[in-house]
């Protein structure tokens, strides 16, 4: 187990490095001069030169990358070229908002998606299964930004039940929770259908396993067979997917963050890409890539903990 953990952590370092290299290359492949975009019309050649020097833009690309990677290894993600604030501070200010949004979205998606998947699997090809299938595919198909806008128009503008913008007052958990409802609904809706379909497929497979059929033959209660024997195994692939999904949401909530004017890491990266603020983009991507690696690792460890077969194979 320890060897597996070390192996995965080393792999994680490689993944983070690869993600950084990719983002670095993409940033520098983007058309347009970052100096002109960042400083606009008022910048004199002198100011442009200062800015280019601050961003190491005159150095070869490999040197620029090595400078960043070298600093990152020592825990220094650099400084925002405009405000001179530490990138690590900026990123970790935003990260909790995205983490809580991703967590609440995935949590309600699990709470609804797993029972839906079970219901579908219990009576395959029944009317209920077909209706739930339609709903699941429908929720997957609707883009989350569209859900965000509809939810906002209905619940905030028309019905005036929920707040529209921001993350709520700091120190007021109820207000923060109220501000979380619409964004997490919009972000999690697609995952409801996805989890339901995944659980259904796994459950159908598990329900035909000998040990489940034996449980039925012993005359155990259906709830015991379904939830204690079948679901426990059927949910394992879902856990892996949830781990990946959570990691994905850490940078994939950008639409909800823009539409609901919420702070968050996705919006931070988006804003900084638009203003070609390379140090912040690189720092934020590095942190989200690391978080992604950690969440998938945690999911895999959970699977290993729940499934002795996996544990033994490590």
């Amino acid at each position: 187990m320890l060897a597996y953990l070390i192996k995965r952590l080393l792999l994680g370092v490689v993944i983070v490095f690869a993600a950084l290299l990719t983002v670095f290359c993409l940033l520098h492949l983007m058309p347009g001069d970052p100096v002109s975009i960042a400083l606009g019309t008022r910048a004199t050649p002198e100011i442009q030169a200062q800015y280019a020097e601050k961003m190491h833009l005159n150095d070869p690309l490999i040197i620029q990358f090595l400078i960043f990677a070298g600093q990152a290894l020592t825990g220094d993600l650099g400084r925002d070229v405009f405000s001179n604030r530490a990138v690590s501070v900026m990123v970790f200010e935003q990260l909790p908002y995205t983490a809580i949004l991703a967590l609440s979205s995935i949590t309600w998606a699990i709470l609804v998606g797993i029972p839906l998947g079970c219901l579908s699997a219990i009576r395959p090809n029944s009317l209920l299964d077909r209706i739930l299938g339609l709903i699941s595919v429908g929720t997957i198909a609707i883009p989350s930004f569209l859900v965000s806008i509809w939810a906002l128009l209905l619940f905030a503008i028309t019905l005036r039940w929920l707040p529209v913008i921001g993350a709520g007052e700091i120190g007021d958990p109820l207000d923060q929770a109220a501000h979380l409802i619409l964004p997490s609904f919009a972000v999690g809706l697609g995952w409801v259908g996805y989890i339901a379909r995944l659980v259904r497929a796994s459950m159908l497979e598990v329900m035909n396993e000998n040990y489940v059929r034996a449980a039925w033959a012993f005359g155990l209660k259906s709830n015991t067979v379904i939830y204690r024997y079948a679901l426990k195994v059927a949910v394992l692939p879902t856990i892996t997917m949830i781990g990946i999904g959570f990691g994905h949401l850490l940078s994939g909530t950008v639409f909800a963050e823009i539409i609901f004017a919420r702070p968050g890491i996705g919006k931070l990266i988006f804003d900084m890409v638009m203003s070609r603020n390379f140090p912040v983009v690189q720092g934020a991507v590095m942190v989200t890539a690391a978080m992604y690696v950690i969440t998938t690792l945690v999911a895999d460890l959970m699977v290993a903990w729940l499934d002795p077969r996996v544990r033994e194979s490590l």
Binding site: I37, F82, Q94, A156, A261, P263, S275
Partner: protein, 516 residues
């Protein structure tokens, strides 16, 4: 007793406004549980620096005005920009073109124990601008002469009419505390070392700035006790937040302006604060296809501006006849170029040009792409085929600059929009000879324009200034390189019981917001 009566009246005003708002189903400005007046305003808050010498502008200026001293306030009466002494001075005057006298009010305290606001702070603040990123706006300042602890004179190196609009009334006219700024190395970003204004701030990055009363402030108490300056990037989201009652004052899009003029949300007033942007279609006079002035003039006559204003901007943009924006000296009210496709065809025929094909480049913004398509149809009607290329901001802003490669050589026609400070000088500066290959992408120059450019800076007589800038725009139009399109207005929506004070360039002066 008088205070009690005033408070009672204010309470009744607020209560009746709230009651009226509720009765109409709309929102009104709030009073919180403690009886404090609270304003929620939308900001496009990207705080990078609150140092007047190194800021980006926009919301940063709004915050500076709430926290820091300045000599003059803008006024905007009868559609014209003016100035008035601020709450920080007891005297401000300009006895001649090169001198501006001031006397600070005594007893105004900097925060963090940095003592009183003095004339040394004024000298330090303005003279450091000459070394700052905004030194262009202060190029006319020679030095500041300190007379005593509170008074002094700004001495200019030449008469410079735009000094008010460009410098003293803008964010760069903000005063900083000499001692505190020197202690942090002469420059700061978002941690202001000392403030001295009606408000103090609390910033939650990417969320909001909260402004509350400065306990050290001895000047007139601002109407609002607390201002939540909320960061909402997308303008459409800000409009929804306004409709949902979460902000009381927000800038709105031009197309929303048109819609809300017909059917505004309840309890809402719309306020056009200015129109300091100017949009045109430019032509590269050096390009072989456009070298003949008759071809350029044909294009000028072939474009139907009214169709663009209606089709692309739903009538929300103000038709333009030059670079100088509405409300400023030098704004042209008419043009010698009219929409005349027959004349355009005749000019092309006279030039011996047929089967001309051009490339029109624009930023990939919805309205501008629509405008480009209308131009494409207009020019097609006179026999000029046009290929429209929408571009991301990166490549777009590089295409006419010689320092960014050779693309300027292939540049033919393009849609461009600039914004400026509320003085015609700020608009005229981009078209001088020195700007060819930098921001003068049309690549023309004219000795008379250069001469008038200098005269416009020195002239303080409004009538003569007006004539100078009108003539400069005639020269521009006569090059055939410009098709003037429109000035997109800066529009704010706010609650009916709010009287905002917003600069023509869109920055809110919260200390001067009151109840209507």
């Amino acid at each position: 007793m008088k205070n009690f009566n005033e408070k009672r009246r204010e309470f009744l005003q607020v209560a009746s406004a709230l009651g009226m708002g509720a009765a109409l189903g709309g929102y009104s400005i709030q009073t919180n549980a403690e009886g404090h007046r609270v304003l929620n305003a939308r900001s496009h808050l990207k705080l990078a620096s609150l140092d007047p010498g190194y800021m980006v502008g926009g919301s940063e200026i709004t915050i500076q005005w709430a926290l820091m001293p300045r000599l003059a306030n803008f006024t905007f009466e009868g559609g014209a920009l003016g100035w008035a002494p601020s709450d920080f001075v007891s005297h401000l005057s300009q006895p001649d073109g090169t001198h501006i006298d001031y006397t600070l009010k005594p007893g105004l305290q900097w925060s963090n124990g940095y003592g009183e606001l003095t004339s040394d702070d004024v000298k330090y603040s303005f003279e450091r601008m000459l070394e700052s990123e905004w030194k262009g706006d202060w190029s006319a300042l020679d030095h500041v002469e300190v007379k005593d602890k509170y008074s002094g004179t700004l001495v200019l190196n030449k008469a410079f009419a735009p000094i008010w609009a460009l410098a003293l009334l803008s964010g760069t006219g903000t005063l900083v505390c000499k001692k505190a700024t020197e202690e942090v190395g002469g420059k700061y970003t978002v941690d202001v070392p000392a403030t001295c204004g009606p408000y103090v701030m609390d910033w939650i990055p990417k969320q909001k700035v909260t402004l509350t009363h400065n306990p050290l402030w001895t000047g007139p108490k601002p109407y609002f006790d607390k201002i939540n300056y909320i960061s909402i990037d997308a303008p459409e989201v800000a409009e929804l937040a306004y409709e949902a009652g979460e902000v009381d004052c927000t800038k709105i899009l031009a197309k929303t302006h048109v819609r809300w003029m017909k059917s505004p949300p309840p309890n809402t007033k719309l306020h056009v604060v200015g129109a300091l942007q100017y949009m045109w279609m430019g032509m590269n006079v050096d390009h072989p296809k456009l070298k003949d002035i008759r071809v350029r003039q044909a294009i000028q006559h072939a474009v139907d501006i009214d169709s663009i204003i209606q089709g692309a901007y739903e009538g929300a943009s103000i038709r333009s006849y030059g670079m100088v924006c509405p409300g400023l000296p030098g704004q042209r009210k008419d043009s010698s170029v009219d929409y005349n496709p027959e004349k355009a065809k005749a000019l092309l025929s006279e030039a011996g040009v047929s089967g001309l094909s051009l490339v029109l480049k624009t930023l990939n913004v919805q309205e501008r792409i629509l405008a480009a398509q209308i131009i494409q149809a207009n020019l097609g009607a006179v026999g000029i085929s046009v290929k429209v290329i929408p571009l991301d901001s990166g490549p777009f802003w590089n295409m006419g600059q010689e320092s960014k490669g050779d693309e300027w050589k292939d540049l033919q026609i393009w849609l461009m929009r600039f914004g400026g400070s509320p003085d015609p000088h700020s608009m005229a500066q981009w078209f001088v000879k020195d700007q060819v290959g930098i921001w003068n992408w049309e690549r023309w120059s004219d000795p008379e324009y250069e001469d008038l450019y200098i005269k416009g800076q020195l002239e303080t007589d409004p009538v003569k200034r007006n004539a100078i800038y009108v003539r400069m725009q005639e020269i521009m139009e006569n090059t055939g390189a410009y098709v003037w399109i429109g000035h997109e207005p800066e529009v704010f929506a706010h609650r009916s019981n709010l009287a905002p004070m917003i600069a023509p360039s869109g920055e809110e002066d919260f200390s001067r917001f009151t109840a209507a």
